[in-house]
Symmetry: C2
Amino acid sequence: MTKPHQHDCPVAQMLNLVGDHWTWLIIREAFFGVTRFNGFQQRTGIAKNLLADRLERLVLDGIFEKKDIGQKGTRYAYGLTAKGKALQPVLIAMLQWGNTHIYGKGNEPLQVVDKKTGRPLAPLQYVATDGRPVPRSDLAIVKGAGAQRSPQTQA
Amino acid sequence: MTKPHQHDCPVAQMLNLVGDHWTWLIIREAFFGVTRFNGFQQRTGIAKNLLADRLERLVLDGIFEKKDIGQKGTRYAYGLTAKGKALQPVLIAMLQWGNTHIYGKGNEPLQVVDKKTGRPLAPLQYVATDGRPVPRSDLAIVKGAGAQRSPQTQA
DNA sequence: TTATATCAGTTTCAAATGACAACCAAATGA
DNA sequence: TCATTTGGTTGTCATTTGAAACTGATATAA
């Protein structure tokens, strides 16, 4: 990333942390169980200098944690923190969009499924805090408690 | 983006189209109702050459459509296509993550709410095709119909 | 024991991309 | 009519990227 966004917006701020395409491939692999430097490197194809840089940032930002494994400290495991794991819905939403709008029905290289049934999931759903589904047309984005200035918001 | 990812993965492929932080701010503004070149430029702060480039790509990729408004073609409106609107869950997931993990409860500059009740939504939910919620622990990512090679997949 | 491979990076350097400013022509608006 | 807005293009310079070579430990194999 070249310059962090100053906007007081959760989207802009999240992009400051994970607004890089390599970062997402790294996070994807982490969800797939990869933990080691070389694992990320080989499975994503990222250059090692970039991987070192991205992992360092991700650790600083609290998305990954770096653990010393092996006895004398030259082997490390990188794992998602709770904050990192919380990115799962974003990743799943991306995956579902890619399946639908790039590959199309029947051509999906990966599917998100329910282990119990083995069947693919429906698109992520908007729900109220009481668990009731909220139709897309009822969505709105409004200023929150921490708002300073006023973006024009209509969903 | 410098070089498109070759992975046969919906996440990697979607990142080829929208793996850029400016692109997401442009899309965010589009959901907020912005349609004009200058609107995007002023509200995001992106340089004009980059905006021109990003909009052109987004139109080529079918995420935006460019309409000629005004009579002789120097005024345009950029709007999300259906494919573009389908990115909403990704954006909402990003927004919710930013609220929770960057701003924290009570400090959210923006909130996603249900128009009907005015109350903030819960995090996006995984649901089966029959509408039943799927707990996060039952999620798995597996090879789909279009899979060629085999990534190790565990959610 | 010695050799070989793996791990987790760092360094180097050319090429691509980014940010910023200046410029521009057509079309509006006052 | 004249200034302003719109939607860019062009040029310059700084930063980032990607690829490869290099390091210096540790683990594994013969």
